[in-house]
């Protein structure tokens, strides 16, 4: 039986590799924890026995028994798979079982590769079923261990005498201990190089299908449990999600200076308050998209900048947009519905992150489309109406709105502490008993008070503010930013937003201290991972290629203009106006392009100079031995037979016969060669001149001889005229 060389070391490494390969599977819910636990126990026990030098090869009967025991488990897995419509778990469990059994049945040298194949499949399964960023850490760890394993296997293979290419049988004598070699450098460098090279390979590999993500959502396989955007909501929205740091959306302004001071994202607008809940009327209408997939919300308002939005999947159909949104898209949606308050509703609840681009104006655009439901008096108690009348006083509707808003802002406090409150009449309790509450109570009270005065108003839920990520430049809107406010109508002002919640109760922009940097960095990584790994597809490849092409073209035109001493040509303006249009290159951009070109040229020149200097320094003056070697080659080229065993004197004789015109040069060269190589007399400066001269003369003679022979082969060629002296 051909037992393994370096048996113990190989088994140990295979054990660790098998253990590591399966780690992500339960995190991805691909197999259950208890099953991985059983697998880990089997492998760890295997490693322990190997390290203690105990036998680890199970007898054949034990292997058969294990197979028989596993058979019903496998059949039940298959049965469950049929019921669930997925066999992944059954296959993975079978794979882990086979891997563990194979480890315990390792006998021969080649069987270690069977284990490696099984490990490879487990690794592929772990990668395929993962969507979390931490799989990158797993990838790095696994690649490092795999590289180390293969490095050691290659070393042991050679040490065991397999590498000499012979097919001889290995002797039964135990292999020697491998010589100590430090593997830190190849392991570290190899891992880093593999990771670096894998990035362009990943980016360039052909994609023919949309990205498929297993268990997709917030990069962790979950859908956000966000409340407050369904058709009916209670007044516990804020308390349920305030303090939740999960990100709902990321927003990136193309022109950060155009970002409004207050970011409001409209999610839903509610019409009827009944039984402590707000209800939304059926959709008020739909926005039809244009032929190019763009939804326009206001034709007469010009956009100022564009905003890129990445919205995480939520348990809602709400499409969260800035109030200033003029148009949306292009997006692959047939239609988008609108509620009475102008909030947008997607045709279906998204199951994964959606990204889209909107153009925004300076002023709010997403306004209610009508008054239906905005004057619904349901839920208004006499006490509330009385208070409203008292607070609103006399004046226009606009003045009344402001008065009520100011009353709530000034007379009530913000709290999330509702201990002791019955919750039967939350608005009355807020207004008349406790005098404090959260944003929904403020907004709901204001809506009811306005309606009692005959002023159309709606409760709006959405998100206020966000936390700017300093690394990526986007604004991360978290669940913590959920907010409720009011939209009211006055004839003089039209529909406007009002926020009666005191400023201390409104969601902030998040901390800017060092401590808040950690989650920001994590979020940045998660976002990048989600955007550029999980969601990466053919469109991104196309985008990268186009962007690269445009950039190179831009650089080239800038460079060409710079060479000609002209200003850089302005980029052609696509038709139409708006923020999506490419702005002409600024002087700064032109200067940057020139700077880059100059830096590249200087770098190339410096590299060439350094290479030249290094070559010059490493260059050694030709020795007489060099000249002698070249002479032998020249003689061979002339057809003389110069075997290796021919000594210098014999070579000299051949050279004298072949090149009689350079006889003295040949003699000088051979003499110098013999002095240098056999008399231990290095070439002096004067002799070097002599040597160079001899080499030159010999080369000249060789050239002439070759020319003469060529002429001799072409008898029709014109022969040189004989000199008069000749």
């Amino acid at each position: 039986m051909n037992e393994m060389s370096f048996d113990r070391e190989k088994r140990t490494l295979l054990g660790y590799l098998a253990l590591l390969a399966a780690v992500p599977l339960p995190f991805n819910q691909a197999v259950q924890w208890w099953y991985l636990g059983l697998f880990a126990i089997a492998v760890i026990y295997f490693i322990q026995r190997v390290e203690q030098g105990l036998p680890t090869v199970l007898p054949m009967w034990a292997l058969n028994m294990l197979g028989l025991i596993y058979m019903p488990i496998f059949l039940s897995d298959v049965w469950l798979g049929i019921r669930r419509g997925s066999f992944i778990e059954a296959l993975l469990r079978l794979l882990l079982f086979l891997l563990a059994v194979k480890l315990w049945a390792l006998r021969r040298e080649r069987e270690k590769w069977h284990v490696m194949i099984a490990v490879f499949f487990v690794f592929a399964a772990s990668m395929a079923t993962s969507s979390h960023l931490t799989i990158a850490l797993y990838l790095v760890a696994f690649i490092s261990l795999a590289i180390y394993t293969l490095l050691r296997f290659a070393h042991w293979y050679l040490e065991a005498g397999f590498g000499d290419g012979s097919k001889r049988k290995r002797s039964s004598a135990p292999a020697p201990r491998p010589r100590k070699v430090s593997w830190t450098v190849p392991l570290t460098v190899g891992t880093l190089l593999v990771l670096m090279v894998s990035v362009p390979i990943f980016a360039l590999m052909p994609r023919v299908r949309d990205p498929f993500i297993f268990g997709r959502g917030v990069s962790a396989g979950d859908t956000l449990r966000t409340t407050g955007f369904s058709d009916s909501v209670d007044l516990e929205l804020t308390t349920s999600i305030r303090g939740n740091r999960q990100i709902v959306m990321r927003v990136r302004y193309e022109d950060p200076s155009a970002r409004p001071a207050e970011l409001r994202f409209k999610g839903a607008a509610y019409d009827r308050y009944e039984n402590r809940r707000w209800h939304r009327l059926p959709e008020a209408g739909a926005t039809q998209r244009s032929t190019d997939g763009v939804f326009v919300f206001a034709d007469d308002v010009s956009a100022r900048t564009t905003v890129e939005i990445f919205q995480e999947p939520m348990a809602s159909r709400a499409l969260l947009l800035p109030l200033e949104t003029v148009r949306l898209g292009p997006v692959p949606l047939p239609r988008i519905e609108k509620d009475g308050g102008g909030a947008l509703i997607l045709p279906m609840q998204p199951s994964e992150m959606i990204s889209f681009e909107v153009a925004v104006a300076d002023t709010a655009v997403l306004r209610p489309v009508g008054f239906e439901g905005a004057l619904d008096l349901t839920g208004i108690t006499p006490r509330v109406a009385e208070l409203a009348t008292e607070v609103a006083g006399e004046g226009s509707d606009a003045e009344k709105i402001v008065a009520i808003e100011r009353h709530l802002l000034g007379e009530y406090g913000y709290t999330l502490d509702f201990v002791g409150r019955s919750g039967q009449q939350p608005i009355e309790e807020f207004l008349f008993e406790y005098g404090s509450g959260h944003c929904e109570l403020f907004a709901s009270s204001m809506v009811l008070m306005l309606r009692s005065q005959g002023i159309p108003a709606r409760l709006v839920t959405g998100f206020l503010g966000g936390e700017r990520n300093p690394l990526e430049g986007y604004i991360a809107v978290r669940q913590d930013n959920a907010h409720a406010w009011v939209e009211a109508y006055a004839p003089s002002t039209g529909w406007r937003s009002y926020d009666p919640t005191p400023p201390e109760g409104r969601p902030g922009e998040g901390g800017r201290d060092l401590l808040s940097l950690i989650p920001q960095v994590w979020d940045y990584l998660m976002f990048r991972w989600d955007r550029w790994v999980l969601s990466y597809g053919a469109e991104d490849q196309q985008g990268i290629v186009e962007s690269l092409r445009e950039r190179i073209a831009g650089w080239w035109s800038d460079f060409a203009a710079w060479l000609e001493g002209e200003e850089a040509p302005e980029s052609p303006m696509p038709g139409g106006e708006g923020p999506e249009l490419a702005s002409p290159p600024t002087d700064r951009q032109t200067m940057t392009a020139r700077g880059v070109a100059v830096v590249i040229l200087v770098a190339m020149a410096v590299s060439a100079a350094v290479a030249l200097i290094v070559w010059w320094l490493r260059r050694r003056p030709p020795t007489a031995a060099d000249g002698y070697r070249i002479l032998r080659e020249q003689l061979r080229a002339l057809g003389a037979e110069i075997p290796t065993s021919l000594g210098p004197r014999a070579v000299e004789n051949v050279a004298l016969e072949t090149l009689p015109s350079a006889a003295s040069a040949v003699r000088r060269l051979t003499a110098l060669y013999l002095d240098e190589s056999f008399a231990d007399r290095p070439i002096e400066e004067a002799a070097r001149v002599e040597l160079d001269d001899a080499r030159r003369q010999i080369a000249q003679a060789v050239r002439e001889e070759l020319r003469e022979r060529r002429r001799a082969r072409r008898p029709w060629a014109r022969r040189p005229k004989p000199s008069p002296a000749g």
Partner: protein, 362 residues
């Protein structure tokens, strides 16, 4: 050695490499079919492993200086060790270098199932500034006498991951003269024949070997006194040395055997040469003066290492000549001589004890 003379030996994918490639393709098909970026990531990583392995493996075997030196005496069918020195002239360390001599790089070619004649593993070679030189040896076995030539040393490596064999050929052009095979002397000499020649052939002289001890007589050379025996016995004892000229052997090797077309004839001829070489080496070792006479050359009587090398060199290069009726006679027919020839196709060894026997040879 000029750098341009170093030739890349290309790449050979190992079995592990082939399987890795196959699995990468399978994984790529699965990734393309599903659009699963996790699988794409796994494929990209394995692809990167292959690319990096290919590049690093190629770099690992280049930029070396390899030198090889043959030992003074190499005998056929006796393992010899060629001194090997490899030097790292690059800026990066090297790992798992396998230096080998391949059969195709040796002249004359020999039939062998093994691709490599000898190999030496250098697990680690530091970069410039460190221990850049590594010495070792290649153990070779030449099956035949004659002139051999090693054209190049093959440096290959499985580094880093054993997926590819990368190799470079470094020219060395080493010429070696392989002496004929020397048989164990016991095969030729009876075990009890430890002394050469019979007693009558032994004469007092100025040789190196001790003939006898006797009491000192007036007129004896005082340098011949054996001081240890003198001290032990209590009277002056002198050493008598054997005359070298009395221990001579002339080997007559008739290589006019015609063309040896049949391999068996050639083998017999080779065996005869080995026997001549064995006899020469054996006798020279025991202080004989040995002469060699062949159809090509005549080496006069001489002893010592120089004569041994001269005889071995002559025998190593000895080739069959056309048959002739002219007898081959030793330089001095009165001296005892050993005549080796192929008589009727069979090896014939005859001993002429004209003046003395060739003790213990046969």
């Amino acid at each position: 050695m000029s750098r341009s003379a170093v030739r890349s030996d290309g790449m050979r994918v190992t079995r592990v490499g082939v399987w890795t490639l196959i699995f990468s393709v399978l994984l790529l098909v699965a990734a393309t079919n599903t659009g699963n970026n996790g699988l794409y990531l796994a494929v990209a990583t394995i692809g990167a492993v292959l690319v990096v392995s290919h590049i690093i493996g190629g770099r690992n075997v280049r930029g070396l200086q390899v030198a090889i030196e043959a030992p003074d005496e190499i005998y056929a069918n006796r393992p010899c060790q060629l001194d090997l020195e490899v030097e790292n002239r690059g800026w990066l360390p090297r790992w798992l270098l396998l230096l080998s001599v391949e059969r195709v790089d040796i002249e004359p070619p020999s039939k062998s199932s093994r691709r490599r004649a000898a190999s030496f593993l250098v697990p680690y070679l530091q970069a410039r500034g460190g221990r850049v030189r590594q010495t070792g040896y290649l153990e070779l076995l030449m099956r035949r006498r004659g002139r051999w030539r090693i054209r190049r040393i093959h440096v290959s490596s499985l580094f880093p991951l054993g997926l590819f064999y990368k190799g470079c050929r470094y020219p060395v052009d080493l010429e070696m003269l392989v002496y004929p095979e020397i048989y164990p002397a016991s095969e030729l000499r009876p075990a009890n024949a430890t002394l050469a020649g019979d007693d009558t052939s032994r004469q007092i002289g100025r040789g190196h070997d001790l003939l006898s001890l006797r009491p000192f007589r007036p007129g004896d050379d005082p340098r011949a006194i054996h001081w240890k025996q003198t001290a032990r016995i209590g009277e002056l004892i002198v050493k008598e040395r054997e005359a070298d000229e009395g221990r001579r052997l002339s080997i007559v090797f008739d290589n006019a055997v015609g063309e040896l077309e049949h391999p068996a004839d050639r083998a017999r001829f080779e065996k005869l040469i080995s026997e001549a070489a064995t006899a020469a080496v054996d006798h020279l070792t025991r202080g004989f003066q040995v002469a060699l006479t062949t159809r090509d050359d005549r080496l006069p009587f001489a002893g010592g290492r120089r004569q041994r090398l001269a005889i071995l060199e002559t025998l190593a290069l000895l080739e069959p000549r056309a048959r002739t009726d002219r007898p081959l006679t030793p330089r001095d027919p009165r001296e005892p001589h050993l005549r080796l020839a192929l008589a009727a196709g069979q090896p014939s060894i005859t001993v002429d004890k004209t003046r003395s026997t060739i003790g213990g040879l046969l």
